[in-house]
Symmetry: C2
Subunit: 341 residues, 2 copies
DNA sequence: GTCGTAGGCTAATACGTATTAGCGGCTCTC
DNA sequence: GAGAGCCGCTAATACGTATTAGCCTACGAC
């Protein structure tokens, strides 16, 4: 078997066209500066040689020499498998891919990042971040120390989802959970609800904190607004708790728990929303089997993906000034699970 | 705003440790050859300097100097949007990502490839193929001329799905549709069916050709085995056709058409599989609304993804010899739509 | 004392491109 | 006819790493 023929380089083109390698580079990059000029017929000779050989510049060498590569790195924090969490990323990736295509960028998925102490790490011996011009961070919980490092190194990046400062403000494109939850609370109050409960998970990420803040801010007008943790408790006992307290509407962080709660309510001969209103705080990331249209809101995941690429490309080419932080509105879903108390 | 601090290079490490850049490189690559030896204490000094600075090698420079990059390119032929076809790729990507992670490779999605004449092109002015060590081709119809070019250039690649020769044999990991369809035909014959019909689409890809070949090969034992095109015809007229001819079992290429055909049958007061057996030739790529469990087979998409990476890495590092062509078996689905004639 | 040898390291170069200083020749000006 | 200015191009260098030929020292053998 013959060794792979050495690939065509600018030197080869130069030889063919009877010019220097520098000239080839200049022609390729269409430089029309005043300080480097190429006669039309020379340019033609070069272009003809390029066409003949099917030459295409080596993107690696190009990147080494100049600054940019038109590659956007995508780093997914949670391990992509089992496939449940893969679906979590899917809508984001859809948006990311769409905008990347429009922007003429390739996407580099950092699947090689090793899992250390149960989570993926960007920074490790032999990290390959610099293959990309910048990078998009996906994941519910993102390690603050890695954000610190990114900030320190001045590496362009954008987080999908709001992030607290980490050695400086963090550029992000997130969803405005606080506003969405506030709206839901106002809706419930308008319907006459006065005794509310917020059913929380043990997630400490900003996304959850924002929802809780939104609830706390808007629920001041209520007669009673409690936080209940659903961790290690089943729907039955939570339901007992709610009924005992006269709660008429539950704001449920975990979509699957909302489904379970509705089921428990029905099993007890009660109805939703007749006896209890149940609101969800974002569409589920994994398919949850239910026929019910829950009242709640939708997270604009695709749009977050799109805009994260938009922001990142702006940061990379320097056209964006200041730290970019965007919160996109969530879309309210009317649904069937909010009634009168 | 201060310009980004120049990144740490091997030269910096060398200065810190009081050695030459070459020594740093040698230490980094853990070379224990006889012709390059480093004293333990020198090695330690270097490693300490690396740890202090958090140095990580620039993958771009590394790629330029040596040969490999541990990047696997992924090229999706059909435009990824609208999202229908995106879902088509999802199971493949799942498998690809899984194996790439295991192999310590990153994935590069060539989203920048331009669409020319309605389809994406690998080769174009400024193609960026060489960013990757090799590449995986996804798509129902892959342009033969591009395969030619890949073969000619000796660029490592693997197609997902069997491909006809293109200036030489094409490495692939496909599904054995011919065998799966043959099995289905045998199943039908064993049940007593003698008048079969194959309902084809207008797809000319190898995947469809293989199914048709499988049908033709196994159906020789039948009394009557016809091919019918479903293009531009609705389920009603096709059903007329089938019944008029005494056909008792239909092999349907297009899953959605199978659903429509079943519906049409039922509407006419007939039953499946009582009056007509309907077999599908692969699980649908887009979600099709039906409660029915069709008899047919499953395409091992995830496994195809996994093995394509396995094959490709073998080709790249030279451990695979000869052209790699693999056909994976499909899993038969018993289902409820095959009965006695 | 001379030669051989092995260990430990470095200088030099290659990879393929982008960039820039500057060279030689020409025309124009007065 | 000498300087100024422009045109068209090239030589040289940088980017950060991997590789290899070979240098220097020390040590042992005879």
């Amino acid at each position: 078997m013959p060794a792979t023929p050495r690939r065509v380089t600018q030197r080869d083109i130069a030889r063919l066209a009877g010019v220097s390698q520098a000239t080839v580079s200049v022609v390729l990059n269409n430089r029309a500066d005043a300080d480097v000029r190429i006669a039309p017929e020379t340019r033609d000779r070069v272009l003809r040689a390029i066409a003949e050989t099917g030459y295409a510049a080596d993107p690696v060498a190009r990147r080494l020499a100049s600054r940019f590569n038109r590659i956007i790195g995508v780093f997914t924090y949670e391990p992509a498998f089992p496939s449940g969490s893969r679906d979590f990323f899917h809508p984001f990736l859809l948006g990311i891919e769409e905008y990347a295509e429009r922007a003429g960028c390739d996407l580099l998925l950092f699947t090689s990042a090793p899992v250390i102490d149960g989570r993926r790490r960007i920074f490790h011996q032999d990290n390959r971040l610099r293959l990309a011009d910048g990078c998009i961070l996906l994941g519910q919980e993102i390690d603050g120390s890695e954000l610190h490092r990114l900030n320190r190194d001045g590496f362009p990046y954008v987080a999908v989802g709001r992030r607290d400062d980490a050695g400086g403000p963090v550029p992000y494109v997130g969803a405005d959970y606080a506003a969405a939850v506030r709206e839901l609370v106002h809706l419930a109050l308008a319907r006459g609800h006065r005794r509310l409960a917020y059913l929380r998970t043990d997630i400490t990420a900003e996304s959850s904190a924002d929802r809780r803040r939104g609830f706390a801010e808007a629920a001041t007008a209520a007669e009673n607004a409690r936080h209940l943790s659903t961790v290690d408790r089943d729907a039955e006992t939570i339901l007992d708790d709610l009924l005992a307290d006269g709660t008429t509407v539950a704001f449920v962080e975990d979509f699957a728990f909302a489904v379970a709660l509705e089921l428990a309510t029905r099993r007890r001969g009660l109805t939703v929303p007749g006896d209890l209103s149940i609101l969800t705080l974002g569409d589920p990331t994994v398919p949850v089997p239910t026929d019910l249209a829950f009242t709640g809101f939708l997270i604009p995941r695709e749009e977050m993906g799109r805009q994260s690429v938009e922001v990142l490309t702006g940061v990379i080419d320097g056209s964006a000034d200041g730290v970019q932080q965007r919160l996109l509105p969530c879309e309210l879903v009317e649904g069937d699970t909010l009634g009168a108390p």
